[in-house]
């Protein structure tokens, strides 16, 4: 059974279509790259799956259910911004996640924090941008979720942090879960992707296995992306 299914999913803002007639099905055990230039509808798509937006038409199903409290218990979401309460310490954030998510593994999170030398007693707002992003990723990836939605997880961080983020995603790979990574920094994530979705102006241009693209096009996903989205 597909973890995520979208049927004719559309989202309009007034007369502007941010997403139009998206049909998708994502199976467990896949790492999927949601790729497209700025404004292609990546964040809108992720927000719709999370229930942060209501579709104008069509539907999105997570393990057969529409977005709601039950589906939110299955989805681990990393937005493209600081989303944690800045007055809380890292330790308090850990307890918050443990309180609300049954699938949160606090020990795993503590272990990753210790590996990075992040002091759990520090307040979130006193951390550097890179460290804040690492803490957020650690919290999200310490859940044993069925679907991980990572919106621009490597945007705006230094190469070392990028490596850590991708390493964390691979280390926490779970064959029963699917991971969707939204980004336009394709060369950095290409090695971890099983499938690729190209979004252009709110429509799915391509949904294919990464290996298949490399075989049929004879080039990397990154190069193929540059060809397709050439300005």
């Amino acid at each position: 059974m597909a973890i995520l299914e979208c049927k004719n999913l559309s989202k309009h803002y007034g007369k502007v279509a941010a997403l139009e007639g998206v049909d998708l099905s994502i199976e467990p055990g896949r790492v999927v790259g949601l790729l497209g230039p700025n404004g292609s509808g990546k964040t809108t798509f992720i927000k719709l799956v999370n229930g942060l937006l209501t579709p104008t038409a069509g539907e999105v199903l997570i393990e057969g259910s529409r977005p709601g409290p039950a589906s939110k218990a299955l989805v681990a979401y990393l937005p493209d911004r600081d989303f944690l309460a800045d007055w809380m310490t890292v330790e308090q954030q850990l307890r918050f996640f443990a309180d609300f998510y049954k699938d949160f593994d606090a020990e795993k999170a503590k272990e990753m924090l210790a590996r990075l030398g992040i002091d759990p007693a520090q307040r979130f707002k006193t951390l550097s941008k890179g460290t804040r992003e690492k803490v957020q990723l650690i919290l999200v990836m310490s859940r044993k979720a069925r679907l991980y939605l990572l919106d621009e997880p490597i945007g705006g961080v230094d190469p070392a942090t990028r490596d850590f983020i991708l390493d964390t995603i691979i280390r926490n790979y779970n064959p029963e879960a699917a991971v969707i990574i939204s980004t336009h920094l394709i060369s950095d994530v290409e090695s971890v992707l099983d499938e690729v979705i190209f979004l252009k102006e709110g429509r799915v241009l391509l949904h294919e296995a990464a290996d298949s693209i490399r075989e049929t096009q004879g080039t990397s996903v990154d190069r193929y992306f540059r060809e397709v989205f050439k300005c």
């Binding site: 999370n50 937006l53 979401y77 944690l84 309460a85 309180d99």
Partner: protein, 274 residues
Amino acid sequence: MLGKLIKYEFRATGRVMLPALGVLTVLVLLANLSVRLLDSRLSSFLTVLLVLVLIATFVAVVAAELMPIIIMIVRFHKNLLANEGYLMHTLPASVHSLVWAKLIVSLVWLLATNLVIVLLGGLSVMHLAQMNLAQLLAGFPSLEELRRMLASVGLNMGDFYLVLAELALIIILSGLVSCLHFYAAMALGHTFTRRKGLMSVLCFVGISFAFSLITNLLGIQEVEYLNTVTVVTVRGGLNVLHGTMGKSFFYLLAQGALLYAATVFGLQKKLNLA
């Protein structure tokens, strides 16, 4: 889930509200001391200082009244309509739980602030009148005395408790409606794609105008009705009071239901986080 949300809501708001109430208490105690000292002969410097303490206390009391409202607005915006909303709206909790957690905690702080102000006011009165607590309490009738007083006009303690319960319900409901007034305005204002702050203010003004118009119309009707009522006995007067309080209760309930529905609609159907 609601219990957990309330716990974190108290934590987030308590870190501001508790110190604020603490400062208010200290200032009122200092003001009481200042009043006592002002009676004696002091240097002009100390007199100015004590007067400043009195002014600061007055300002603190006004600020304390506003504090729970400001905290309520900032918290709702920051936690549900700004970046933290990306976490809160993706928790496995319903929008109803998110709204009720905020409502309950805001109501508690509104009531607690007013209770502290009343208690500190009582303390100040006691101090100014140079009374102790026993003397102050002696001014109130005992339960037995109250029972006799009520019996002398054909009422009983049940009537007394019923009026108290009705008053308590109306106070709680008024508090909830006040909170929902802000919540609905913000939730609706944020459904717009641009100038969400300004649109929230306009929604607040619009809702206030509509409700005050309805309240005035219903108020005029009620006064006209009361003018036609002839009260002969205390029991008759009490029944009229029950009727008016009942109508107020249902009017507040209708207001609350409308504002709650608008808040949930804004957060559930039209959520549009920046």
